[in-house]
């Protein structure tokens, strides 16, 4: 849960500039909901690389890994397990 909360907080604070946390469901698609644009995805990638000490390959930046808080969380979990 900690990973998920950190990702939600990062997006809420740095991309949405939200006052009341992450306002979407964790499985909501970033693209469909208009949460992020192309620049923001790169910010999220940089954040998870930094925060969780993982390295993200360019070919891993795909919707299956980066289109929702849930996807990002699971991606980070897989990476940190390795």
């Amino acid at each position: 849960m900690e990973i998920q909360e950190k990702i939600k907080k990062f997006i809420a604070d740095n991309i949405l500039f939200s006052e009341n946390g992450y306002p979407y469901a964790v499985s909501d698609s970033f693209l469909e909901k208009g949460v992020v644009d192309s620049m923001n995805i790169m910010e999220i990638v940089a954040f998870v690389e930094d925060e969780f000490s993982i390295s993200v390959d360019d070919l891993e930046i795909v919707p299956a890994n980066f289109d929702s808080v849930k996807n990002v969380t699971e991606f980070v979990e897989r990476k940190t397990l390795n």
Binding site: F17, L31, V36, D37, I41, D58, L59, E60, I61, P63
Partner: protein
């Protein structure tokens, strides 16, 4: 017959390649015949719903394939289409709809509430068509699918001639109010033919388009592809660059239009695993790429012809650098597009010699008809040429030309910022900032940014203590299009001023 209306490109390609796929977007695919018939249906239903020749219809959608049906449908109905960036917020959308006296709007269903909010202030806007599975048809709303299926698939009787308007494209100006550039059919047809001539497009071309269709560069990719009978792969955006690059391999893409931000992202990627052998050309416009970037592109894509281009919505495209000149003239944005001319003028209208700096002036059929209902701005931009009655376009950009007739961009005459390939009016951003309670003064400038070209930076003076940068950024995000939102906001105690009290932006840089 040679096409003289924009929609003729579709009817002609549908006759020659009825079963060829012209458009692929995610899971959706359309053949030329399907697109032709669906756009007929849309056109017929628009007419049945009261659209008259010359009426404006606004398209407020992201890069969805329905846009192709809608654009050609509006044209076949004799209407004028307007493409509006789908991240545009309520006030600006209302302004554009009011300014253009739009007859109808096509929008995603999730914008229904916003439309309900502004429709009472727009007496000329008769109805909205919602593109989404969840929407329903109840006036003033129609569900796109319902609207489409009610129309006859027969081509409507032609009413237009090539001097009628095809589209209005709203562009930011230094005054802060967006202005609608009027393109008539002859302008659009001419530009399409000129650009596809120098790109040497053929029906075998497969174009991958991740540029918004609301941006003329993205829009013309669609129109051009239809004109030469090619295939377009339409992407919603450039959010997942690796995925898009892989599509080049998957679909054997031959043409890739990009803007500097996209190229910056691409060049930072490890692309070794992707097969780019099908790719014939890449184009860049909106802002110049640095010499280093161009060199990197040449190294990464050695067999690709790279076209560096320059243009303004007011003439669509103006200059292009033939790829063979990239080596010896890397800093040039090239020569006038086929069938047009350009020169550099001083402030009193003298043509300048090579090497001298002045305003770029443009002549040709691509010089658009002016700004919709804005005579003052039109007269400023489009001025009389040597032939009585002819209008030529004053670009507002400072250039020089070399001895061989190649042009070099020096600077803009106004303070427009180019960020992510889009034009941002500092005045427009400042106007929105001033509406935020607590902002006493605001000044917006562009600062160099390795990825964005220029980044929007705002300096604000507050008259309320408990506001922080995030409050301002959140407000910006909720009230402006994505590309206008400042990348950074700096709260300052005061702004530098001239002796007459005007904000002195040069001291902020």
């Amino acid at each position: 017959m040679t096409p003289n209306l924009v929609q003729d490109f579709l009817t002609s390609s549908a006759r020659i390649y009825p079963h060829k796929v012209c458009l692929i977007a995610g899971e959706k695919k359309y053949t030329y015949q399907q697109l032709d018939r669906l756009s007929n249906q849309f056109a017929q239903q628009l007419r049945k719903s009261g659209l008259k020749r010359g009426d404006r219809v606004a398209i407020f959608l992201g890069n969805v394939p329905e846009q192709a049906i809608i654009i050609f449908g509006i044209l076949k109905a004799g209407g004028v289409f307007i493409v509006i960036n789908h991240t545009t917020k309520q006030d600006k959308l209302a302004y554009i709809l009011k300014n253009s006296q739009a007859h109808a709007i096509i929008a995603p269903a999730n914008q229904k509430e916003m439309l309900l909010g502004i429709m009472p202030t727009l007496p000329e806007l008769k109805y909205a068509i919602l593109v989404d599975e969840a929407s329903e048809s109840r006036l003033p709303f129609f569900k796109f699918e319902d609207f489409l299926t009610q129309g006859s698939p027969l081509e409507p009787r032609k009413q237009n001639i090539d001097r009628d308007l095809a589209c209005l494209i709203y562009t930011s100006g230094s005054t802060g109010e967006p202005k609608g550039v009027m393109s008539d059919h002859s302008n659009v047809v001419f530009v399409i033919q000129s650009i596809t001539t120098y790109l040497e497009n053929t029906p075998d071309d497969i174009i991958l388009n991740a540029v918004p269709l609301s941006f003329d560069y993205g829009l013309y990719q669609l129109l051009m592809t239809i004109s030469f009978g090619g295939t377009m792969i339409l992407e919603k955006g450039f959010v997942y660059p690796a995925l898009i690059m892989k599509k080049i391999e998957e679909y054997r893409v031959t043409g890739f239009p990009g803007v500097p931000t996209m190229f910056s992202l691409i060049l930072n990627m490890d692309l070794n695993e992707i097969d780019f052998s099908s790719l014939r050309y890449m184009t860049n416009t909106a802002a110049a790429l640095s010499r280093t970037h161009i060199q990197k592109i040449k190294n990464t894509f050695p067999n690709v012809r790279f076209f560096s281009m320059y243009g303004l919505t007011e003439t669509k495209r103006t200059l292009y650098l033939p790829p063979e000149d990239l080596e010896n003239k890397p800093d040039s944005v090239g020569i006038p597009i086929p069938g047009t001319e350009a020169w550099v003028e001083d402030e009193v209208g003298n043509h300048l010699e090579p090497g001298q700096i002045g305003e770029l002036v443009i002549r040709g059929r691509h010089v658009m008809r002016g700004y919709w209902h804005d005579e003052a701005a039109t007269n400023q931009r489009y001025r009389p040429g040597e032939i009585p009655g002819e209008k030529i376009c004053y670009s507002g950009d400072l250039f020089k030309m070399d001895e061989d007739g190649y042009f070099y961009f020096i600077a803009r005459k106004d303070d427009i910022i180019k960020s992510r390939g889009e034009k941002v009016s500092p005045k427009e951003v400042e106007n929105i900032l001033y509406q935020f309670t607590g902002v006493q003064e605001a000044a917006v400038i562009g600062v160099p940014d390795p990825v964005l070209g220029q980044a929007v930076k705002a300096f604000v003076v507050l008259n309320q203590p408990d506001i922080n940068v995030n409050d301002i950024l959140r407000y910006c995000k909720n009230n402006m299009e994505d590309f206008m939102v400042p990348k950074s906001v700096v709260i300052v105690a005061e702004l530098p001023k001239t002796s007459s009290g005007k904000i002195k932006k040069t001291d902020l840089i």
